[in-house]
């Protein structure tokens, strides 16, 4: 029982991280029905920006440094997200190009980012400085670390902020309108292109933060680190119901927990397979996901 609880706690941190990345996938899918394959790499860039900044700072462990590391990761990944949307997707989106083309662009951008990273930083993993000194707490026989606590709490906090933005700001309303019915929202004067930019910015900011979190938690990073967590976060988004923000959060936590439990009770080599099996099962049995709505094709 204790082992089980321990694993649940370990899974929560990964779940939160998946959820943060999954939100980016799901929001972009909502507004432009695109799987933004490059999203996982934005997360990687976030981690590397964090690394560079952390190495530049003299006093790595001061609260100010931690804040600066997160802020800069967020800033640069946001910038990158906006750039990707502007240079990669927008012209095709305007032309109403086939979705296949958009997907290919997504894959190409992902490759560009990964291989630029490999060229700049090499393939060998780099260890991330311990900017938050690790502390462990015991509750009975269950251990958890301050890092796990920080990750889970800040994930919840960020999701709360996101909820406020989406439900209660003008831009959030516009986002929901575009997701509901893109053409209609354009007729009603919603500035769709600005909504797209905003959506990419928001999703990328979260991915950037998630990148630093993983870097702290892992604590190693490499230019291909975005690939697998990116795919898994996407799977989490599908599991929760693509296009649904609460769905992405639920999917993220469910997948994180499931993975941790599988590697604890079966074998860690099944861990990576699990996500893909989940994906195929969801697609076959409940393609709208846990919280998604059924899709009606327009005629």
């Amino acid at each position: 029982m204790n082992l089980f609880l321990q694993q649940l706690i370990n899974g929560l941190a990964w779940g939160g991280i998946y959820a943060l990345i999954a939100i980016g996938y799901t929001m972009v899918y909502g507004v432009m029905q695109l799987i933004n394959f490059a999203h996982g790499d934005v997360f990687m860039v976030g981690a590397f920006v964090g690394l560079v900044i952390a190495q530049l700072l003299p006093d790595k462990t001061s609260p100010l440094s931690v804040f600066l590391v997160f802020l800069s990761a967020m800033f640069f990944s946001t910038l990158l997200g906006i750039l990707i949307e502007r240079l990669g997707y927008r012209s095709l989106w305007r032309k109403n190009a086939p979705r296949l083309s958009l997907l290919i662009v997504a894959v190409a951008i992902s490759l560009l980012l990964e291989n630029s990273g490999l060229l700049l930083f090499g393939a060998a993993p780099r260890s991330f400085p311990e900017i938050i000194p690790s502390k462990s707490y015991f509750v009975g026989s269950i251990i958890f670390t301050n890092l796990q606590l920080i990750i889970i709490l800040s994930c919840l906090l960020l999701m709360g902020i996101l909820h406020l933005i989406v439900m209660h700001t003008k831009m959030g309303r516009a986002m929901r309108a575009v997701a509901e019915d893109s053409e209609m929202s354009a007729l009603l004067g919603v500035p769709r292109e600005r909504v797209l930019s905003f959506t990419f910015a928001l999703g990328s900011a979260l991915a950037g933060i998630a990148g630093v979190m993983v870097a702290l938690y892992a604590p190693q990073i490499n230019p291909l680190m975005g690939l697998l967590p990116g795919l898994k976060a996407f799977i989490a988004a599908v599991l929760g119901g693509i296009g649904s923000i609460p769905g992405a959060m639920v999917g993220g936590f469910v997948l994180g927990e499931a993975e941790t439990l599988v590697s604890a009770y079966l074998s860690s080599s099944y861990r990576d397979l699990l996500a893909f099996l989940v994906l195929i099962l969801v697609l076959l049995l409940r393609p709208q996901g846990l919280l998604g709505k059924g899709v009606v094709e327009k005629l």
């Binding site: 709505k293 009606v296 094709e297 005629l299």
Partner: protein
């Protein structure tokens, strides 16, 4: 008495909370030319989608030639003899005019026959070619034969879509606003062409039409739909004097 060709019983279609069709019941006899009118959003296209299988109803039944087809997939309904056109053209735009028609004619040889160049394949393709040509010729579209469908003028594309639907050799033809976007003159000649086609191919036609003059002038029987319900049914005169129909249309500008 003969069973009706199409019978719709208590059909209800919902989209989320919105009821697009509520308890629709009507039937179509073989050889009829039935028109359906109603303000925008009344559920006319949804009704077509339900009959052709693009949308599954939440409740109710659809019978075609006495057979319950409510749960049939679209392609099976098409093969049984329900063909349709679309409000916004849905031709296979990069394929040639000939291919658009040939496609709908079905396949008479096994799927691997072309790879082995079997005689059944060659015979099958010859037949497809001949019947497609004949059909296009009856629409005077044969001169566009090798052109991609999207290279045709708008009016011709509309007629090509009807020709494509006829390539299915349907018993029932569902036409979703065939005259939209055409001039009055073109619209009249298209409707007259449809009347001839109906006789020639012994078709039953079910037509969504916005142009009141055309509906009233050419459809012996009309159904009026409003907010997903049938509010009137009968001859043009009966429809014109039906208070519910008049009220539904008074709200509109027509």
């Amino acid at each position: 008495m003969e069973a009706p060709l199409l019978q719709v019983e208590n059909l209800t279609v919902r989209f989320g909370g919105l009821v697009a069709l509520r308890n629709i019941s009507f039937s179509l006899k073989e050889g009829e030319f039935l028109g359906i009118i109603g303000p925008n959003g009344a559920g006319k296209t949804t009704l077509f989608n339900a009959i052709s299988g693009a949308v599954l109803p939440d409740r109710g039944k659809i019978l075609f030639q006495g057979r319950d087809i409510t749960s049939f997939p679209p392609h099976k309904r098409a093969r049984l003899g329900i063909a349709r056109t679309f409000q916004t053209l849905r031709l296979f735009s990069r394929l040639s005019v000939a291919d658009n028609v040939k496609l709908a004619e079905g396949i008479t040889y096994p799927i691997y026959a072309p790879i082995l160049s079997l005689p059944s394949y060659q015979k099958g393709e010859r037949e497809l070619e001949e019947s497609a040509f004949k059909l296009l010729k009856s629409f005077q579209l044969e001169r566009y034969w090798p052109r991609p469908a999207n290279a045709l003028p708008y009016g011709e594309r509309k007629r090509l879509e009807i020709a494509r639907a006829l390539a299915l050799k349907p018993k029932l033809l569902l036409l979703d606003e065939p005259t939209a976007g055409l001039s009055h003159q073109e619209a009249i000649s298209l409707i007259e062409e449809l009347h001839n086609l109906r006789r020639k191919f012994s078709l039953t036609i079910f037509l969504i039409e916005h142009n009141m003059r055309i509906v009233m002038g050419y459809c012996p029987r009309i159904i009026a739909l409003s907010y997903g319900e049938i509010i009137g049914e009968g001859s043009p005169e009966e429809i014109a004097s039906n208070p519910a129909v008049i009220e539904a249309y008074l709200g509109e500008k027509e």
